[in-house]
């Protein structure tokens, strides 16, 4: 591990506050842990306030209230107000489910800066199927209300094989709703998405067609909508620069107070991720084993160790290396220099075979009942 070396530690800039794992939706690509039902403790309002204060003092400025569904927490307006008083730029990352106009106004008053609403598809049937809950009309209404009350409106659509064919209609819907930002997030295969990968991963032809449509649209709306396109890394030759480097920028706090260098890091073995109940944010960020584990480049194995791009992508994603090769120190197998790159090609082939077969198994929806099986 790299922590023993003299690496300059940069302060956190982005804090993801996962307030709860509770959620009325059941999206089968959820990034929460598969066994989230085992982690049902939630830290208190006072604990969250302390976390926000300590991280802000260190330099965190972008704040995401996430979950699960953060609206489930009754203290959300109080936490938003505390965040605003501290000078955070705060974002509510929500399904929109249960977000009334009254609540939108209350959060605005408390100082919330923007709201990111997820929509699962461009049609009611598919949206409600993927969400596992009837929610399409209320989400569209929430998007309109967010816009009406002067927030920057950020629409997020997770893209996978069930909705990728709707790309033109998804773009038209974003334009019709007046989105200021549209996040087209190709599914990243962690958590529930990993378990459902064969059923969610589009074919290469589907990706290419959808990306072309999105890129053409991006040019058309350049003056009124900003599009964030999260790439499908399985089809790349180099891995993503995950989290901008481990322990450099991002800090996630899970509902039970566990501090994570990325929101999937809970799945990694032996990190002993610290808890805000036991340590200050400064101790966690600067001194904990988990946050120092993959800092710098000393931990790298070949081919990363001698690679001239190691400062560019940091060896890719540790969680992906672990999930797909069994060793979190390995090069992210997305990299075509990785000796394990075949697992990516096999995953693509397996998903393709599933797509072309008649008898696909059903999606595993994210809910407490299914979570108890993991």
């Amino acid at each position: 591990m790299a922590g023993s070396n003299k690496i300059k530690i940069t302060p956190p800039r982005w804090l993801l506050a996962e307030l709860t794992y509770k959620c009325p939706l059941q999206c089968p690509y959820c990034s929460n842990p598969l066994d989230y039902s085992k982690h049902n403790a939630e830290i208190s309002t006072e604990d969250w306030k302390r976390v926000l204060s300590e991280a802000r003092k260190m330099g965190a400025v972008q704040l995401g209230f996430s979950g699960g569904e953060p609206l489930v927490r009754p203290d959300l307006p109080e936490l938003v107000k505390h965040a605003r008083d501290l000078g955070y730029y705060s974002n509510l990352i929500t399904s929109g489910y249960g977000l009334t106009e009254e609540k939108i106004l209350q959060l605005k008053e408390a100082g919330l800066d923007h709201i990111q609403v997820s929509i699962q598809a461009s049609t009611q049937d598919l949206n409600d199927h993927i969400a596992g809950t009837e929610s399409f009309q209320s989400k569209k209404e929430v998007a309109r209300l967010v816009k009406k009350h002067g927030y920057p409106m950020v629409l997020c659509v997770v893209i996978h094989r069930e909705n990728i064919h709707q790309m033109p209609e998804i773009l038209a819907m974003a334009e019709e709703l007046g989105a200021d930002y549209l996040e087209l997030a190709n599914t990243q295969y962690y958590g529930w998405a990993h378990a459902n990968r064969d059923l969610l991963m589009p074919t290469k032809e589907q990706y290419e067609k959808a990306e072309k449509i999105a890129q053409d649209f991006k040019e058309k709306v350049v003056d009124k909508m900003k599009i964030y396109y999260v790439i499908p890394d399985f089809h790349e030759k180099r891995p993503k620069a995950c989290m901008n480097g481990w322990g450099t920028t991002f800090l996630t706090i899970a509902p039970d107070g566990v501090a994570l260098p990325c929101h999937s890091a809970r799945e990694l073995p032996g990190l002993d991720c610290p808890n805000v109940n036991d340590s200050s944010i400064s101790e966690i960020w600067n001194e904990s084993k988990a946050f120092n584990f993959f800092r710098g480049t000393e931990w790298m194995k070949e081919p990363c160790a001698s690679c001239d791009e190691k400062e560019k992508d940091f060896g890719g994603c540790r969680c992906q290396a672990y999930l797909l090769t069994g060793d979190m120190h390995n090069t992210d197998p997305v990299c075509d220099k990785s000796p394990d790159n075949h697992v990516i090609q096999e995953a693509i082939a397996s998903a393709r075979e599933s797509a072309l077969s008649d008898g696909e198994k059903p999606l595993i929806f994210r809910n407490s009942k299914n979570s108890k099986n993991f």
């Binding site: 003092k57 400025v61 974002n91 923007h114 920057p152 950020v154 930002y181 996040e183 900003k226 964030y228």
Partner: protein, 90 residues
Amino acid sequence: MSINPEQIIHFSPLHRLQWEEAQQKDVILYPEGMVELNQSSAEILKLCDGSRALNDIVADLEEKFSTTGLKNDIIAFLDVALQNGWIKQD
């Protein structure tokens, strides 16, 4: 898109300009992003407060820094700011 010298300039209601103590600099915050500003860019943007047009901003800055000839640099920066959506004109 470029600056209309006749019109008042506002800072975008969808962005926030603020001083960051930890970074010792002004930044622009917006959904999913942050731009770190150098001092001159920050000084220009702070005057985009809905009460001034181009010539007022130039005059104020030239007075503040006891200098002249800033106009072209200010226009160049304001054009960039407008294209990035940081400022608005009606």
